[in-house]
C-alpha cells in the first residue's frame, strides 16, 4: 500500500462523505428541529437526481442550473408532503411509529411514481462542462468533478453552520428544537417554521441527488440505499447533532472508500460493522455529548 493509493482513496472517500453529509444533514435537521424522523429522505435524493436529469435533457440547461432546479423541486415536494400529510399526525399518541409508517408510505408511492414517469432503465447524466477532466499531482489523479463536489460540500457546511448559529431563522430553528410551545408563545409561526425546515432539508437531499447523478447512475430504488447509509451516519454521529452528522459522514465515507479498494465484494457490509461497533461502545452516537440514557 503506497502513499498515492492512500491519497486517492482518501479523496474519493471525501467525495462520498460530502454527498452523505448533504443527505444526512437534512435528515438530522428535520429530526433535531421537528422531532420528525423522515424515513423517505432518500426518496427526495432520488427525486433530485431525476429532476436534474429531466431538466438537462428537456431544457438543455447547464448542469449547475439543473442541480438548483432539483433542489427547488425536491424542496417544494417536501413542503407539500409535510403540509398535506405529516402535519396531520403531529401530537398523536405514539407519534414516532406512525411518522415512520407515513414516511415509509411516501417511499413506496414516490418510488412507483418515478417508475411510472421515467421507467425502470438506468439514466445517466454527463459531468458539467469544465469538470470532465482530472488533475494529477505526482501519482495522484483525481477527477475535477469530485474536487468540485468536495468544495461545494465545504461551502454548504460552513454556510449552514453560520445560518444556524448567527442568523435569526437559524435561532428560530434551534429554538423550535428545544421548546416548540414557548416559541409559539413568543409569536413565531411554528407550523410554518416546520414546513420551511422540512423544505430546506429535502432540498438539501435533492441537491445531493443531483450532484451524485453524474457519478452513479440514476435508478428507481436509489433512495433506499441512500437512506440506510445516512441512517448509519446519524447513528454514528448522534441524531440531531450537526457536527456529528459531518464527522459520521466523514468516517463512513472514508471507511467505505478503503473497503471498496481492499475488499470490494464486502464493502457494503463494512459500513454496518462500523455502526455495530459504535453501538456497542457508545449507543447515543460517537460524537454526541454524553448524556443520561433513556430507559
Amino acid at each position: 500500500m503506497d502513499l498515492s493509493f492512500i491519497a486517492v482513496q482518501l479523496l474519493s472517500g471525501l467525495t462520498m462523505a460530502t454527498l452523505l453529509f448533504l443527505v444526512a444533514s437534512g435528515l438530522t435537521l428535520i429530526f433535531g428541529v421537528g422531532n420528525v424522523f423522515n424515513f423517505a429522505h432518500g426518496s427526495f435524493y432520488m427525486l433530485g437526481a431525476y429532476f436534474a436529469y429531466q431538466t438537462v435533457s428537456a431544457l438543455h440547461t447547464n448542469f449547475w442550473a439543473a442541480a438548483l432546479m432539483a433542489a427547488l423541486g425536491a424542496g417544494i415536494i417536501g413542503m407539500l408532503a409535510e403540509f398535506l400529510f405529516l402535519r396531520r399526525i403531529y401530537g398523536r399518541s405514539e407519534e414516532g411509529g406512525f411518522q415512520i409508517l407515513l414516511t415509509y408510505s411516501f417511499i413506496l408511492v414516490i418510488d412507483d411514481l418515478v417508475k411510472m414517469i421515467w421507467g425502470t432503465e438506468y439514466k445517466s447524466l454527463l459531468r458539467p462542462a469544465g469538470f470532465q477532466g482530472s488533475i494529477s499531482a505526482g501519482d495522484v489523479t483525481m477527477p475535477t468533478y469530485n474536487l468540485a463536489i468536495i468544495a461545494i460540500g465545504l461551502v454548504i457546511v460552513v454556510l449552514a453552520w453560520l445560518i444556524l448559529t448567527r442568523t435569526r431563522p437559524g435561532r428560530v430553528a434551534r429554538a423550535a428544537a428545544l421548546d416548540r410551545e414557548m416559541l409559539g408563545a413568543m409569536g413565531v409561526n411554528v407550523p410554518l417554521t416546520m414546513t420551511l425546515v422540512f423544505g430546506i432539508a429535502t432540498a438539501l437531499g435533492g441537491f445531493a441527488g443531483a450532484l451524485a447523478a453524474p457519478l452513479r447512475s440514476v435508478t428507481p430504488g436509489a433512495g433506499i440505499e441512500v437512506i440506510i447509509d445516512s441512517l448509519i451516519v446519524v447513528v454514528i454521529g448522534g441524531m440531531g447533532h450537526f457536527w456529528g452528522a459531518w464527522l459520521g459522514a466523514l468516517l463512513l465515507g472514508e471507511v467505505t472508500s478503503f473497503a471498496v479498494a481492499i475488499v470490494p465484494e464486502w464493502a457494503s457490509v463494512v459500513g454496518y460493522l462500523v455502526m455495530v461497533l459504535c453501538l456497542i461502545f457508545k449507543p447515543e452516537g460517537l460524537f454526541a455529548p454524553r448524556q443520561v440514557r433513556k430507559a
Binding site: 411509529g97 415512520i100 433513556k294
Partner: protein, 318 residues
Amino acid sequence: MELGRGLKQTAFWLVLFAGFALVPVLSTSKYHMLLASHILLWGLFAVAFNMLWGVTGMLSFGQALYYGLGAYAVGLMVKHVGTGWFLPGVALGLIGAVILSIAVGLLIIRVSGVFFTVLTLAFGQLAWQITFRWYHFTGGDDGIQSIIPPGILGNGLVYYYFILVLVALSIWLLQRLSQSPMGVLLRCVRQNPSRVPFLGQSVRFSQLRVYVVSSFFSALAGSLMAGVDNSIHTDMLYWTTSGEVILMSVLGGIGQFFGPFIGAGVIIILQDVVGAKTQYWPLMIGIVMMVMVLLLPKGLVGEFQSLSARLKSLAAPR
C-alpha cells in the same frame, strides 16, 4: 360477562380453525390451498410482529431478519446436507433465531423509539447484504429451489394440515402469553415505562424477552414457508418484507390480538386479486398505508369495534 367473553373467544377460534381446515375439502384447487397456507403463515408472522409493536410498543422494521433466517436455515440444510434435513433445518432456524435475537436484542434495546426502529432496519439489511453477496454458500440472488418437505410431509395436503396445526398452536400460545401477567407487563412497558421499575420489573428485560419470543415465531413462519413455496429467495430478508408485515398489522389493527392476522388475510387476498394485474403494487400498498395511518389508525378490526360500540350505545335506552 367473563364467561360470555370466553365463549365468544372459543367460538371465534373454532370458526377460524374450521374455516381453514375446510379449505382443502371445499376446493379441489391446489391454488386455494396455497393461498390459505400463505394467509396462515403471514398471519403468524404478523401476530408475532404485533407482540412487539402493538403490545410492547417496539416498532421493529427488521423482523424479516428472523423470517429469512428460518427460511434459510431450512434451505441451506436441504441444499448442503441433504434433502431429508428439512425438519432439522426448522429446528436449527428456531435455535438460531433465539441466539441471534438475544445477541442483537441486547445491542438494540439500549436505545428506544425511532432509534430502535432504525437499528432493527439496519441489522435486517446487514443480514440481507450478507446473504445476497455470499453467492457460493447461499445462492445469492438465485435463492434456493426445490425444497421439498421429507416423507409424508411431501404430500401437499398433509403439509397443509401440518402447518395449520403448528400455526394454530403458536397463535394460541401467543394469545395465552399476551393475556398472561407477562402480557400485562408488556402493555405497561408500552404505556408507562417509567412506572415499570416501581413494580419491581425491568423494562429492558421485558423488551428482550418479547423480542426473542417474536423472533422465534417469525423464524417458524419463515421456515414453514420454505416448504409451502418449495423455494426461498433473498427477498424474504429484504426490508420490504418487514414493511409488508407492518402494513398487515396496521391494516388489521394493532390494538387487537387478531387484528394482524385479519390484516394478513386481506393483504394476501388483495395481492392475489389485484397484485397480479398491476405492476404498481407498491404504489397501492403505499396508498393503503397512508389512508390507514391518516384516517383509520385503529385498523379495520379496531375501527369496526369502535363503530359497533357506538351503534350499541346509540341503540341502548338512556
